[in-house]
């Protein structure tokens, strides 16, 4: 943890700024949300890590996708994700977004979240404990530091493919494409 490394702050203020002010959008997408209140309150206190919940996607740069994603929620997730300003980071919680988890045979939950929006990191567990969330944040720091947390860039580059998948799952989307360029668009 290089929070107190003044040199680094001078060298790459953007990265340092991103790392230590991860503002998480307040959106309860699945059951993993139950561990968010403990994380942001006194016992675990996510603010020590620079993580605070914020009300609107416009203010946030961290999207915690907490657990299973039903088809109906997917629409809201895409909307929310697209409203977030760059740079933005996504973290998938628990088994369900990875490979369907508990609901692998449900007709109403999507099985692989990374088919629809890009994900920077996954946390194992059902559901992940507060400790795991913190460790995930430190991992995210490392990724940002190394320039590897570039899922939002991927989204821009392959927007066409993502949009196509989104429309396969949800039917025609009633909002215009976020980007007009991007792989598979033409």
């Amino acid at each position: 943890m290089d929070r107190n490394d003044i040199k680094k702050w001078f060298k790459s203020p953007d990265k340092m700024g991103d790392k230590y002010s991860l503002w998480a959008i307040y959106f309860c997408t699945g059951c993993g949300i139950i561990e968010i209140p403990p994380v942001i309150t006194a016992r675990w206190d996510a603010e020590r890590f620079g993580v605070i919940p914020v009300a609107t996607p416009r203010q946030s740069n961290l999207f915690l996708i907490t657990g299973y994603v039903s088809v109906k929620t997917l629409r809201a997730i895409i909307r929310t994700y697209e409203q977030m300003p760059e740079p933005k980071y996504t973290v998938g919680f628990g088994s369900c977004p990875i490979n369907g988890g508990m609901y692998w045979d449900s007709y109403n939950t999507i099985k692989h979240l990374d088919k629809y929006i890009p994900i920077d990191g996954w946390i194992a567990g059902c559901m992940p404990r507060p400790e795991a969330i913190f460790v995930a944040v430190t991992h995210l720091w490392t990724l940002i530091d190394q320039g590897k947390a570039k899922a939002y860039v991927k989204y821009r580059e392959k927007y066409g493919l993502y949009r196509k998948n989104q429309e396969m799952a949800l039917g025609k989307l009633d909002w215009p494409p976020l980007y007009t360029t991007g792989g598979g668009n033409d």
């Binding site: 675990w44 088994s95 059902c126």
Partner: protein
């Protein structure tokens, strides 16, 4: 309360109450600097002790999320007789819900959950892994000092960190078997009534319900019976269906249900921490409750092919070959010198283990399908082998081992031979037992002989002082007889003298047997592991006895085969008849199986051989 609040506007000093919290310790855990250990029962990532794991796949079956898949591990070898498969579970943490059902169903107790739960990665492929434990997977487990939560993942785990683990009291399976009702030793040793009473319907269903359907037993069984299926049918109270399943691979359930060597039970996954399923007794239960196989089976022989097959020996192998070939439509004739079917089963296992009625139940059914039995017909005497070779399209040798070996010590001719003794007794010839009987041998046949002798003594010399004892080269630890037999013999009062070898039969002045001189055994096998006993020549003892029975093994009798043909018959190094993958010997159209071919020397292996041979014969005849 409501009223109070309305009036009580409170003091503006009220908020200053909070000042007292200034002196309290903060409640925030300074994680990760101040770690918090998960609970002792925490359900985290899996640990699997590969040495204990049998690869039974119960965990994969119970997993509600299909997160567990059994994968073949190339570096492991499959050992079906020990109930070990070369498969191990692979976990997908994109599916797992950490419920621990797999731990509670694991019969071996190899699977447990650790207290690790950190795995954070950007690649979803890393969430699939094959769990091992810290002993097998040293590079992935770290002692507390080297372990860091910030590095923790599926490949950086903490040592000695077992969490939720198996507890037999709360397991999802029942480790204890339903007690088999047996006649008490005091009662059974004075008569020949069948010792095992057999399960009734409730007991059988309850015992059948323990089966976890992992099918390790089916791989262990030489004849690969569909054990799980027929046990499930018993549980569902459909004995007819169960019988049909048994008959697919084994046409003598009443016999095998009593005297099978039960390789299946030795492989049963329940045996590891409890008692194996009573597979043999359940098979017997099916044969017991169905009096009439014919209506239950609804089987008919196939369309007549016009081919004729001779089977020599009506033992388990011979009868099975006849049954399988008859179903294919061939005409089968079985020759046997005994007055009834069963072969060694008819004369070997005493009545208290295998009554004649049970044998006849199986024999009669096979006969009812149109198999011709020619009893009291000794090949080579009553009918010539050459004639059989001429008249039939194929011949199956299921002759077994019919001659008992002798120790050939001094005066050994005064002793009785095991098979003769057993045969005479079982087939109803009067046998007189001495008051003090010595049985030489430590195998199952010796146990049978000793226990028969004890019963005869009790019946013939009631109230008198009697004694039956055995002498065997092998000491307790390598005694070849099965544990149950030894235990039951002891219960009945048989005395064991293991680790002694016969030296000389002692005679009195009249030339009657007076006892057996024995010498202490130094070792049974030599350095190469071959049977080659050595003795302490200076340690001797005399066992007193007026009757000695030798039960030290049997050999086959090939005297009926004409010399010219016999020369063509090739043998393996272990003095067994050599057969190819079709069960065919080196003589054209002669097939063989059973004790003369395999080294296991038991009924179910004979059936397995018979299955191979019957298919071989069928192929041979149709080509």
């Amino acid at each position: 309360m409501t009223e109070k609040i309305k009036k009580d506007r409170g003091s503006f000093l009220g908020p200053f109450n909070a000042v007292r919290f200034l002196w309290k310790k903060p409640k925030t855990l300074r994680y990760p600097f101040e770690p918090k250990e998960p609970a002792l029962r925490y359900r985290g990532f899996h640990l699997n002790d590969w040495d204990k794991c049998t690869g039974c796949g119960n965990c994969a079956d119970i997993c509600p999320n299909e997160a567990i898949e059994m994968v073949k591990i190339p570096e492991l070898e499959s050992r079906p007789r020990e109930g070990k498969k070369d498969e191990r579970p692979r976990l997908d943490y994109g599916r797992c819900c950490f419920c621990g059902l797999c731990v509670d169903i694991c019969p071996a107790g190899s699977l447990s959950l650790s207290r690790d739960y950190f795995h954070i990665h950007f690649d979803t492929d890393t969430f699939t892994f094959i769990p091992k434990n810290e002993i097998l997977d040293k590079e992935k487990f770290f002692p507390a000092g080297e372990y860091s939560v910030l590095k923790a993942s599926l490949s950086h785990r903490k040592k000695d960190y077992e969490g939720f683990s198996s507890d037999l009291k709360y397991s999802l399976f029942e480790p204890e078997r339903v007690m088999m009702p047996q006649v008490e030793p005091e009662e059974r040793k004075i008569s020949f009534i069948e010792q095992v009473i057999g399960y009734n319907k409730e007991e059988a269903k309850k015992e059948a319900s323990r089966c976890l359907e992992c099918r390790l037993c089916e791989e262990a069984c030489p004849a690969h019976l569909k054990i799980s299926d027929y046990i499930r049918a018993i549980y569902e109270d459909k004995p007819e269906e169960s019988l049909r399943k048994i008959f697919e691979d084994n046409p003598i359930p009443a016999i095998c249900g009593r005297v099978c060597m039960k390789y299946c039970e030795a492989a049963c996954s329940l045996r590891i921490r409890g008692e194996a399923l009573s597979i043999r007794w359940l098979k017997r239960y099916v044969a017991d409750v169905i009096n009439d196989y014919k209506t239950a089976m609804e089987l008919k022989p196939g369309n007549p092919t016009g081919k004729k097959i001779a089977v020599i020996g009506a033992g388990p192998g011979g009868m099975s070959v006849a049954y399988f070939l008859r179903l294919k439509g061939h005409d089968v004739t079985i020759f046997d010198s005994l007055p009834g079917g069963g072969g060694t089963m008819r004369i070997g296992p005493p009545i208290y283990r295998l009554p004649l009625e049970a044998i006849d139940q199986d024999v009669n059914y096979i006969a009812s399908l149109g198999v011709e039995f020619r009893f009291n017909t000794t090949v080579g005497k009553d009918i010539l082998f050459e004639d059989i070779m001429k008249d039939y399209d194929a011949v199956y040798l299921g002759i077994g081992m019919t001659i008992s070996n002798s120790t050939r010590v001094k005066n050994a001719d005064k002793c009785l031979l095991a098979l003769n003794f057993l045969e005479d007794n079982k087939l109803g010839k009067a046998v007189e037992a001495g008051k003090k009987v010595i049985v030489i041998g430590g195998g199952n046949v010796a146990m049978d002989v000793a226990r028969v002798a004890l019963r005869l003594q009790n019946i013939q010399h009631p109230g008198k002082e009697i004694l039956t004892q055995t002498v065997s080269l092998e000491d307790w630890d390598i005694l070849p007889a099965s544990k149950d037999e030894i235990e039951e013999s002891k219960e009945e009062g048989i005395i064991f003298n293991p680790g002694w070898g016969p030296k000389e039969v002692a005679l009195d002045e009249q030339g009657n047997v007076k006892g057996l001189w024995c010498k202490k055994v130094k070792s049974v096998f030599d350095d190469m592991g071959r049977f080659n006993p050595s003795f302490y020549e200076d340690q001797e003892m005399l066992l007193e006895g007026d009757m000695i029975i030798e039960a030290i093994g049997q050999r086959p009798d090939f005297s009926f085969i004409p010399e010219a043909l016999f020369k063509k018959l090739e043998f393996t190094e272990r003095r067994k008849v050599k057969v190819d993958e079709n069960g065919q010997t080196t003589i054209e159209k002669v097939f063989a199986g059973g004790d003369i071919v395999n080294t296991s020397l038991d009924a179910v292996t004979a059936i397995a051989d018979a299955k191979i041979a019957s298919e071989g014969i069928n192929r041979y005849l149709s080509s």
